[in-house]
Amino acid sequence: MSNKIDRILLALMAVVLMALPFMASGYVIYVVNLLMVFVVLALGLHLVIGETGQFALSHAAFYGVGIYTAGLINNLWHPPFFVSIIAGGLLAAALGYLIGALALRMRDIYLALSTFAFGEAMQWVFLNWQSVTNGSNGFRISPATLFGYALVSDVKAYPFVVVIAALLLWATVALSRSQLGSAFRAVRESDIAAQAMGVNVNAIKRTAFTLSAAYAGIAGGMYTLFASFIHPESLGFQTTILILTMVVVGGIGSVRGAIAGALAFGLISELLRQALSFQEIIYGFILMGFMMFAPKGLFAGRAARRAPPPATPLPAASRAAATASKSPQRSAA
């Protein structure tokens, strides 16, 4: 049922995306490019928070690593653009692997705070490593090329950006249907139960962090295809929170939710870019409102496939249950 709706929605999206370059102006194409980057970022965070349940707050750092790596390689050697994107993805993945090692030692708030600290430290690196990132003056990215074909405008970059986003969407869905996806969700529900079932929890957590960082790195590479400038200011905690909001308001644990959230919040943040104070106020109230009235987000994730949590038994009910099952339990003991 919902599978059918998904298919219709996907087809509809494909049609719109294909028709768009023939009907829309440059700015609209730029915004759609940006939305595709947000979709990939949200999918990456979905893997680590939604699927694996690890509360990581350093996504913008990996995104930044992807942007600077891809941008630098592109500026220096002008290789075909996929080389620089893959390099950015790999470096981000390597860093993600290291941060995944942190995740093995801590959980919940400790993990959130240490990844937060890592993200802030990385932003500091972007700001202060003058010789590489050009620091607070911002970094210029020359147009990406593919065998001599230069992606000089948003419209020229557009098909490649959309195709990469579609590939990663396909990869995410395939991943969540694979055994690895089941292992991710087992770890999310309970480390210890997953371990008891024979899941290598440490390896799974590390994999989730690595993959998530790789997605963010690739998203950074996608950004270098159409954008010509990046400032470290936009690679801080704010951006991590923006992506987290997409995932959570969309619906934790749901790919549909991550995409819907990315599109909605990407649009809001772009449309309200000029009016910072209004953006912040609207943002704040959306966040509070959603958490108050729909904490599970727009699309609650896979609730149907999960067993309902054990209800706290009422005293009377539990006593009745205890008497009812007394004899077999006693005999078993």
């Binding site: 928070i49 509360f55 942190l102 030692r105 801590m106 919940d108 708030i109 400790y110 959130a112 705070l113 240490s114 600290a117 890592f118 802030e120 430290a121 500091w124 202060n128 309970s190 210890i192 139960a193 929170i241 987290l244 909001t245 959570v248 934790i252 910072l276 104070s277 209004f278 953006q279 912040e280 106020i281 609207i282 943002y283 704040g284 109230f285 959306i286 966040l287 509070m288 409102g289 959603f290 958490m291 108050m292 009235f293 729909a294 904490p295 599970k296």
Partner: protein
């Protein structure tokens, strides 16, 4: 650097560190009491503190009130705001079955809303600071130079902390708050009204943040983005073990002194990144913090 210089820097660093550290300690205590009783890391801590500073600025610069009236109004205003947030928003999140992630995001929502509201007020357009509460005449201790204002900051912060410890140890409401922190279900069974206690804890935390804001705003320039300072409070809370009140105080002083020493001996540029490095190192080597007791393992 000669030995005499080093000795001078050490004295100055430690004493200035104790002053700024006392403000971080207050903010860390504000973070910890909320975390202990409601399990929520309050990501709006910095913004609540910032609003305290701006309420005081508004009353003094726009309304022209004297300090005597500004101080109580600011304290009460921030406490009410903070308590109301718990009562209206957070209780509603709990009622709709929100868990950790959702509660954190609700506090982030508050942070954004407060920042935006202060920005629209126009007061935040230029960095401002409050007129000094005490004279800024120099006071020389050993070879180090502090101001009277610094001494006042330190004295008030320490007094507030002592009052808090008194409250948590000897008063009914303080003990009820600790009981909720230890075991909410058991506390409710003994007749503690959880909703009310949680609201009072948030209000208390707001009050402490307002004290911190009133103390430090005459010394520094504030902008709507000053909430970043809460990162130092978090670092302090983590260094001390995020559930320990004495730990938060010790952590605050450690962070304050470390920050000043890094600034004097290494570079002012490194100050910004020092707290993050501190957070990561502490979490890696001693995740439960200095005074956090034994590490607990959750069982299924």
């Amino acid at each position: 650097m000669s030995f005499a210089d080093t000795w001078l820097f050490l004295q100055q660093g430690v004493l200035s560190g104790l002053v700024t550290g006392s403000v971080y300690a207050l903010l860390a205590v504000a973070v910890v009491i909320i975390f202990k009783t409601t399990d929520v890391p309050n990501f709006a801590q910095g913004e609540i503190f910032m609003v305290g500073g701006y309420i005081a600025l508004f009353l003094i610069l726009v309304m022209g009130w004297p300090y005597l009236a500004v101080i109580p109004v600011t304290l009460v205003g921030v406490a009410v705001l903070s308590g109301l947030f718990q009562r209206v928003v957070m209780e509603r999140v709990i009622a709709s079955k929100g868990v950790g992630v959702q509660m954190v995001i609700a506090t982030l929502g508050l942070a954004y809303a407060l920042k935006g509201l202060v920005r629209t007020s126009g007061l935040g357009d230029t960095p401002r600071s409050l007129p000094p509460l005490a004279s800024t005449d120099a006071v020389i201790i050993g070879d180090a130079v502090l101001t009277r204002l610094d001494l006042l900051i330190f004295a008030v912060a320490v007094t507030v902390m002592l009052l808090l410890f008194g409250m948590f140890t000897y008063t009914r409401v303080g003990r009820a708050m600790r009981a909720v922190g230890m075991n909410p279900k058991a506390a409710r069974l003994t007749g503690v009204n959880l909703t009310r206690i949680r609201m009072m804890v948030w209000a208390l935390s707001g009050l402490i943040s307002a004290v911190a804001a009133l103390l430090i705003t005459p010394k520094i320039l504030i902008t709507p983005d000053i909430g970043h300072i809460a990162i130092l409070a978090y670092a302090a809370a983590i260094v001390g073990g995020i559930t320990s009140l004495p730990g938060a105080v010790v952590g605050g002083f450690v962070i304050g002194i470390a920050e000043n020493l890094v600034g004097l001996f290494i570079s002012t540029n490194a100050i910004v990144v020092a707290p993050f490095v501190a957070i990561m190192v502490v979490l890696l080597l001693r995740p439960q913090g200095l005074l956090g007791g034994k590490l607990q393992v959750k069982k299924v």
